[in-house]
């Protein structure tokens, strides 16, 4: 006796899809606002942009109850171990959005005090550019992350690397992830670089 005998009384599907659906529809961000980007992050959570529409308006102060870390602002060398500890305390599966240019690459603070890219400390899933990114840019980054969780690209990557905390800066699979427009985001990257007149 199989599922065929049940005569349309049940919907069948993969449990994994349900889990993914639950994951991307109720991400709980850990609060990690470090600088001016946090103001835009608060704005995204407030009434004008209302992250509650995506089920994630409460920024958790407790890392155990969070699964998304939005690093908003510049990370100083002194803050780096704290950030890593908060990340380690979060439960799997967990994701990181690097919000703003300072978190992503140090931005204009190219000096000894600022970590030049938070992906040196934690694996970053989505980068939001801008100084600071507007609430729309942050929401765009969050929706990109939702899409990545929904298509399962991120969990596949985690399975392959064996642990979530491993640093994978440039990942080919995530790079060719289909985007919302349905076009595969493959870049004609640096064709001019080959014979650059350096």
């Amino acid at each position: 006796m199989g599922l065929e005998d049940l005569n349309h009384n049940f919907l069948t599907g993969q449990l994994e899809n349900l889990v993914k659906w639950a994951r991307y529809n109720s991400m709980w961000p850990a609060t990690f606002g470090l600088a001016c980007c946090a103001i835009e992050m608060m704005s995204a959570g407030a009434a004008d942009f209302d992250l509650a529409r995506f089920g994630m308006e409460v920024f958790r102060a407790s890392p155990r109850q969070a699964d998304l870390m939005i690093v908003a602002g510049r990370v100083s060398q002194k803050m780096a171990p704290v950030l890593r500890q908060v990340y380690d305390q979060m439960m799997e599966p967990k994701w990181v959005i690097s919000m703003g240019v300072c978190a992503s690459s140090g931005g204009m603070f190219n000096n000894y005090a600022i970590v030049q890219g938070v992906d040196q400390i934690v694996p970053v899933d989505v980068y939001a550019p801008g100084c600071p990114p507007g609430p729309e840019t942050l929401i765009h980054a969050i929706l990109t992350l939702h899409e990545a969780v929904r298509t399962g690209e991120l969990t596949k990557r985690r399975e392959r690397s064996g642990q979530g905390a491993e640093l994978t800066v440039a990942d080919q699979t995530v790079r060719s992830m289909p985007t919302k427009t349905g076009i595969t985001a493959i870049r004609p990257y640096a064709a001019a670089k080959e014979g650059g007149s350096e």
């Binding site: 009434a47 004008d48 942009f49 209302d50 529409r53 240019v101 992503s104 690459s105 140090g106 931005g107 204009m108 190219n110 890219g117 992906d119 899933d125 989505v126 980068y127 939001a128 550019p129 801008g130 100084c131 990114p133 507007g134 609430p135 729309e136 840019t137 929401i139 765009h140 980054a141 929706l143 990109t144 990545a148 800066v169 440039a170 990942d171 995530v174 790079r175 992830m177 985007t179 919302k180 427009t181 076009i183 595969t184 985001a185 870049r187 004609p188 990257y189 640096a190 064709a191 001019a192 670089k193 650059g196 007149s197 350096e198």
Partner: protein, 227 residues
């Protein structure tokens, strides 16, 4: 203690029920951008398709975040890329460093680099964030390329334009201190506009017609004819 005392606490809440909603439904609709919004860059071209960039690296020199990488190369006489002697052979902007300060637009002597109004984009890896010349340069109609990880909507490209710098544009002394649109492929040459402190009137509407009225005013003040 009356029975309605409990309702007093809800006074503000109940009053707000009738108020209109303020939440912007971002993924469905985009907020209109201010006229001078700084977004992703574009590299402009002339009407004949020649690139405006001459590879002088002034934008890279002025960039406070050091996010621009330019290398120039001599034009070949048979197949020139730009009208000048040299052209920008390598042009890369790292959007994980760019702070959208528009200093590169101010520095550019040929109005080659301007900023569009697009700000809704994000990357899943660092390679995507480095825009090469192939992605920055406008297409044959003068419109910016719409890359798959960017959120372009219908009509966004119409708002895209080179906002001219605050210094005397195109080297014309009569426009000293007057802000001006650059002349662009796809948009033509636009009339100059008022300074930022006098822009209160046009703040209410991002529509171009009001801007054109303002532009006419200032055009007449500087002895020009109304278009």
């Amino acid at each position: 203690m009356g029975i309605f005392d409990g309702l007093k606490g809800f006074k503000v809440t109940l009053k707000q029920i009738a108020e209109p909603r303020v939440t912007g439904q971002y993924p469905k609709v985009k907020r209109p951008k201010p006229p001078r919004f700084h977004g992703r860059h574009v590299l402009n071209r002339y009407e004949d398709g020649m690139e405006k960039c001459i590879g002088c690296e002034l934008c890279a020199a002025v960039c406070p975040a050091r996010c621009i990488h330019v290398r120039g190369r001599d034009n070949s006489p048979d197949d020139p890329v730009s009208p000048g002697e040299r052209f920008g052979y390598v042009y890369e902007i790292n959007y994980l460093r760019c702070i959208h300060c528009d200093l590169c637009v101010e520095a550019c002597p040929t109005e080659a680099i301007t900023e569009s109004k697009l700000f809704e984009f994000s990357f899943t890896n660092r390679q995507d964030a480095i825009y090469t010349k192939h992605e920055l340069v406008v297409d044959d109609e003068g419109m910016p390329q719409q890359l798959p990880w960017e959120d372009w909507r219908e009509g966004d490209a119409d708002l895209t334009s080179g906002w001219m710098r605050a210094t005397a544009a195109q080297g014309r002394p009569e426009f000293g201190g007057v802000v001006q649109w650059s002349s662009e492929l796809g948009f033509g040459e636009r009339a100059p506009e008022m300074g930022q402190s006098e822009l209160e009137e046009s703040k209410a509407s991002p529509v171009f017609s009001l801007r054109d009225i303002l532009a006419d005013k200032i055009f007449i003040r500087h002895g020009g004819n109304v278009r």
